[in-house]
Subunit: 321 residues, 2 copies
């Protein structure tokens, strides 16, 4: 059984004094927005600064001045962004950022990044970049290009994306009947973010999502544990330096990506905590005109031993093919 | 401008005494077969043992007992295989092998490997494998599974696939007005296969294909030189040991794959000639039930420096997106 874990991601920042997304917009709006990409809201948690929705495909975070949505699987996230723009109006929006990772099963997606940004370009004048090589892991980023918005230097985001986790971790996380508490323990969330409010969900037959918030801080983890197409993403506005090192130990992925927005120490960050067993395959950095400095790095675990080939199911309905 | 260089490949072996593909089948048949996947024959060369057709998308080689076809771009090669099966009949066929590499632009392909082998499975009982990780370079191989065919141990094939060639090589190979002779010289074909009969073609605006034959031996090179999606494939039934080392020096790709059928010394082969600057990312070996032992290895050139992001064209018709 295969599932596309790789997320699309959108962040929209509004002209805050005009409207508070947290106080002035009710849940029905977010429910409708999420449904536009064929996802559903499963549950939510909130504090004074942030509301976090756990979705059937990933997560939605809402703050007073912005929202962030990540969706995986075969969702077409750009339709949710379009809904927001149509309902709220571009005159109240100061920044739209739309991002897409390379997928495991690009041929099974309902649209390409190019299709998505052609749709966005009907509403938003923007620029688009690719971070990483076309034949390897990469991230596409589209952002609104308007002189009125410049990101604050403390507006930081981190992504840690693990591919092909160890057989041991994959087996543990695909155990039948595994409970959320056991997964929290396996991921050592108590030690790592013990003071955050948590909301998590174990999917059937596999898969795990957790949203964590503390004031304006958020952290979200999505686990697609299936062997061959395993994928674990950690996204946060807290510095993932210590956390990513811990997750590398727990998951031992064959490959992982690091992405940062406005971590000006990204180069040293990557040097400092990554075990010497990993080798850097690709490194990209770019300062966008919206004042986000984006860093991307892909690492691999060199393989010496020869593995057997993967046997494929010809007759079955198999997204992997 | 982007072009999908990655090839699909099919080899079909017939029950030789019943028919000689080289002597009993005329060019109109091959023309029709090639048209089934929307490619055209550009030219051909032949000797007593082999006829090599240069195609608008890659190459077709015909021997007395088998043919081998490689097509790139958005061709749907499986339709050519289906045509052969329908025209010649499975009773005269002893082995069908169908292979597909991961594509740069999988979303732009008319079909997936899964679609292709579901079609083939209507005619051929077979097995399918994946060599290499799903999130990285990989090759899908489908082969007929029949007890009557066992490959001879001297029935060897080599593939050397270079991705992201050096800027210098890409610029040279995208020079306006570049002639075939200059490309042959750049690739040092005189030194490498000086005693082969050659047939080559320079595509407009870029791209180069060459077929080379000598007795039953063949070698074919296809060059997609465009920066970002550059791809150079070398396929041959002669040992690529020395040649691949030379091509690495000429092209300095950021990543390359080696694939062999029945090179029982594949592990040592890969150790011996590959510069220490390259790191092995994936290694797979498997003995198929048709008696081909297949080896696959993917290598990367570690990157220390940070590169700028690639700027994308939002409005343009851009296959890369």
């Amino acid at each position: 059984m295969f599932f596309e874990g790789s997320e699309k991601k959108a962040e929209v920042i509004i002209k805050a004094p005009l409207l508070s997304l947290l106080d002035d917009i009710d849940d029905d709006f977010w429910k409708a927005l999420v449904q536009c990409c064929n996802a559903q809201i499963l549950s939510s948690i909130r504090n004074h600064d942030c509301k976090a929705f756990l979705l059937s495909e990933s997560s939605l975070f809402v703050w007073h001045d912005r929202f962030l949505i990540l969706t995986c699987g075969n969702t077409r996230l750009v339709h949710s962004v379009e809904y927001f723009i149509q309902q709220i109006g571009m005159d109240k929006i100061q920044q739209v950022i739309y991002q897409r990772k390379n997928e495991y099963f690009a041929h099974a997606q309902p649209s390409s990044f190019g299709d998505d940004i052609k749709l966005l370009a009907q509403y938003v004048s923007g620029k688009a970049y690719r971070f990483g090589e076309l034949d390897s892991h990469h991230n596409y980023i589209f952002h609104q290009d308007n002189s009125s918005f410049k990101a604050e230097s403390d507006d930081k985001t981190y992504e840690f994306l693990a591919y092909q986790i160890s057989q041991q971790a994959s087996e543990k996380l695909t155990t039948v009947g595994l409970k959320a508490e056991e997964i929290r323990q396996f991921l050592q969330l108590d030690q790592l973010i013990g003071d955050f409010m948590l909301d998590d969900f174990v999917f059937d037959p596999f898969g795990y999502s957790v949203n964590a918030i503390k004031g304006k801080q958020y952290l979200t983890i999505h686990v697609t544990p299936q062997a061959d197409s395993s994928y674990v993403s950690v996204e946060s506005n807290i510095n993932l330096r210590a956390l990513a090192a811990k997750f590398l130990t727990i998951l031992t992925p064959k490959s992982f990506d690091l992405l940062s927005f406005n971590d000006f120490d990204f180069i040293n960050l990557t040097e400092e905590f990554i075990p010497a067993s990993y080798v850097s395959k690709s490194r990209v950095t770019e300062q966008l005109s919206n004042n986000y400095t984006v860093g991307f790095a892909n690492y691999i675990l060199p393989q010496q031993a020869f593995a057997p080939a993967a046997v494929l199911d010809i007759a079955g309905e198999n997204h992997a093919l």
